[in-house]
């Protein structure tokens, strides 16, 4: 019972963490909260449904297709919704936020038209693989989700901390103009960041589709808001914070259901976030971020 709930919580938390990683990457570099991230995540899930259910394709193809499509969406997002607003005189610093909200509304309605409303089942035989330990059923998907989230976290930390591209990215995050003067191709770095973040959203989308067998055009909004809460909890722009924050929220939501009332699930989880922020306003792993 308890162990099963623990697994539920970790699975949910890992998914939140992957979504939050994408959020935090864009925020760390661009200082922009990308409200369209949840919808890109939703599109990743739908691409997975289309490839596996409609075209009966294999799962690896679904992953590749979802990554390709969401990466392309990331590029378009940067090219048409963010870049035109950057470094322009008189553009409010809220403009990119509003612009990403616009993109999120567009994408939600677009998926309504393309895929239709309602729930789309995710039929992949991989999602059915499970094993029994005593009375506990563990699904392979649950383990895969956890492993992928940890791998992504380490890969990102390594990439940001140790590689040249990562250093360029951090330099860009520090100061656009200085980085540019020092020979960093700022435009390319920013575009890459948004593309990578979007592709991670796509991966998360497929994982959610497999784990919960539920894909709807509305799924982006709620997970997007939770991703936002998590990066505030973990510390804006911090990779480890996103991971820890995701797991904390996932476990908190699950255990509110176990020991309390499922009606207060979100309320208590978010109350916990508020309390943590009162004690540590910069978030769990947060430092002061240069503007």
């Amino acid at each position: 019972m308890l162990i099963e709930q623990l697994i539920n919580g970790i699975t949910l938390g890992s998914i939140y963490a992957i979504v939050a990683l994408g959020f935090t990457l864009v925020f760390g570099v661009l200082g922009i909260i990308n409200m369209a991230h949840g919808e890109i995540f939703m599109f990743g899930a739908f691409i997975g449904v289309v490839v596996t259910s409609t075209f009966k394709g294999p799962l690896w193809l679904a992953f590749l297709a979802a990554i390709a499509v969401t990466a392309a969406m990331g590029y378009l997002l940067e090219r048409f919704a963010l870049r035109p607003l950057r470094n322009k005189q008189g553009v409010s610093h809220l403009a990119p936020l509003i612009s990403t909200i616009g993109v999120s509304i567009l994408l939600e309605n677009l998926s309504h038209h393309i895929f239709g409303p309602g729930n789309h089942p995710f039929r992949a035989s991989f999602a059915e693989i499970s094993f029994q330990i005593g009375s506990i059923t563990v699904y392979l998907v649950q383990i895969v989700i956890f492993v992928i989230s940890v791998l992504l976290m380490y890969a990102l930390s390594f990439w940001l901390g140790k590689t040249k591209a990562g250093k360029a990215l951090r330099a860009t995050a520090e100061n656009l103009e200085t980085a540019s003067l020092l020979g960093v191709d700022v435009k390319r770095t920013i575009t890459m960041t948004v593309i990578i973040a979007s592709a991670m959203g796509g991966i998360a989308g497929i994982l959610v589709g497999m784990a919960f067998n539920s894909v709807t055009p509305q799924m982006g909004l709620s997970i997007g808001l939770k991703g936002l809460a998590i990066i505030i909890l973990g510390g804006m722009g911090n990779v480890k914070g996103a991971m820890a924050g995701g797991l904390i929220l996932g476990l908190a939501e699950t255990f509110v259901v176990v020991y309390g009332d499922s009606g207060y699930k979100d309320a208590i989880a978010f109350a916990a976030i508020i309390i943590i922020l009162l004690i540590r306003p910069q978030g769990l792993f947060g430092q002061k971020i240069s503007a």
Binding site: L12, N119, P121, T216, T254, D261
Partner: protein, 384 residues
């Protein structure tokens, strides 16, 4: 300017006079016709239906059912019904305008519709005030017939459907302990939950836990794991089919194999499409079952399919029966009079239609035995 105004006033006065006299003339002619054609009661019945907009499929099914019934009834020669159909587009204000038009200028004897309970909540009081009998064929919310003496319905309310399916499930599985799961952010699923809880308490079932979820949620594992640990004999789930199907899928994956009892919102073939094999064991009550071994039902289904090219759903069937009930009452009333029709409607007892045996109670609400269905091997079957 002044002259123009005067002219305009004269014109309106004249035209309204004309309209009035036209109405009077029509009525007189109608009455005469009624007598001359040897006993056949002639009546105009207004229809308000959701014909355009996102719920247009409901309106289409309803008007199809009505037209089919009209053809048959008029063919028999005892009653001659003329349908005056208006579109409400699922909107309260448009439904009200349509109703006023039907009652005042079209001078209908009675109204069938509107489609949604929310529409009925504004149209019902108006019809009652004007003394026009009105019958909903798809309005299942609590309190519709209680609006007034002239308001009826033949659509099975949740308060009747849910206890019926719980009863049968208890009988079959000898259930004593239940878990309840419901969506707490939707009026419809919340009211279904209230009915379930009441029914469970009345039957003396032990309610192990009450869990909630929200619309569009995709992960129900925490709630379901908790329910699994409590080992209920039955799970009562007040959910719309979209969430409900996912809940069943996740429950079956987790190893919960007890039957689910759902409300009207759960009653959709979409559940099978979404959840596949996991949908097996869902019990719902429905007023309409197209596969029933009944001559009337078979005849209706084949006629409907021939006419419209698809199988009739619950909405078509309820509308079809509604017009037959109306015709029966008109025949008994003997004239196309609103008050006489109301009294005759109130007396309808033991009417035998395609939905089964039907009566109105003293409030104008439904008395009937719903058919309880269960999903077995990926299809709805009668549950015995």
């Amino acid at each position: 300017m002044r002259k123009q105004l005067k002219k305009f006033a004269q014109f309106t006065a004249l035209s309204s006079l004309l309209v009035l006299s036209a109405c009077g003339g029509n009525q007189a002619a109608g009455d005469e016709d009624g007598e001359s054609s040897g006993g056949a009661v002639k009546a105009d019945i207004g229809v308000i239906s959701y014909i355009s907009g996102p719920g247009a499929a409901y309106g289409e099914a309803i008007t199809n059912g009505l037209k089919l019934a009209q053809e048959e009834i008029n063919g028999k020669g005892e009653v001659e019904i003329n349908l005056v159909i208006e579109d409400s587009a699922g909107k309260q204000d448009q439904a009200l305008t349509a109703a006023q038009k039907l009652m005042n200028s079209e001078n209908v004897t009675a109204i069938i519709g509107p489609t949604l309970s929310t529409e009925m909540n504004v149209v019902g009081p108006e019809a009652d005030l004007n003394g026009v009998p009105i019958m909903g064929t798809s309005t299942t919310a609590e309190g519709i017939p209680q609006i007034g003496d002239y308001v009826f319905r033949n659509s099975l309310p949740e308060a009747l459907a849910i206890p019926a399916s719980i009863d049968k499930a208890i009988e079959k599985y000898d259930a004593k302990k239940v878990a309840i799961l419901y969506g707490n952010d939707d009026v419809f699923t919340k009211s279904g939950f209230d009915t379930m809880k009441k029914a469970a308490e009345e039957k003396g079932l032990e309610i192990l836990t009450i869990e909630t979820f929200q619309k569009g949620q995709s992960d129900y594992n925490a709630q379901l794991t908790k329910i699994k640990g409590l080992k209920p004999d039955l799970i009562l789930a007040s959910a719309l089919y979209n969430e409900g199907a996912v809940i069943m899928d996740q429950a079956r994956k987790m190893g919960i194999d007890v039957p689910f009892v759902g409300g009207n919102g759960f009653n959709s073939p979409e559940v099978i499409n979404i959840a596949g094999d996991a949908a097996n064991g869902l019990i719902v009550a429905t007023p309409w079952y197209g596969e029933k071994e009944d001559d009337k039902v078979k005849e209706f289904v084949s006629k409907y399919e021939k006419e419209y090219g698809k199988k009739p759903d619950q909405f078509a069937a309820q509308a079809y029966d509604a017009l037959y009930i109306m015709a029966e009452a008109l025949k008994n009333a003997g004239e196309a009079d609103r008050d006489a029709l109301r009294d005759a409607l109130a007396e309808v007892k033991g009417f035998n239609g395609i939905l089964g045996e039907f009566s109105f109670d003293e409030e104008g609400d439904v008395v009937m035995d719903p058919t309880v269905l269960v999903i077995e091997n990926g299809a709805f079957k009668e549950f015995n």
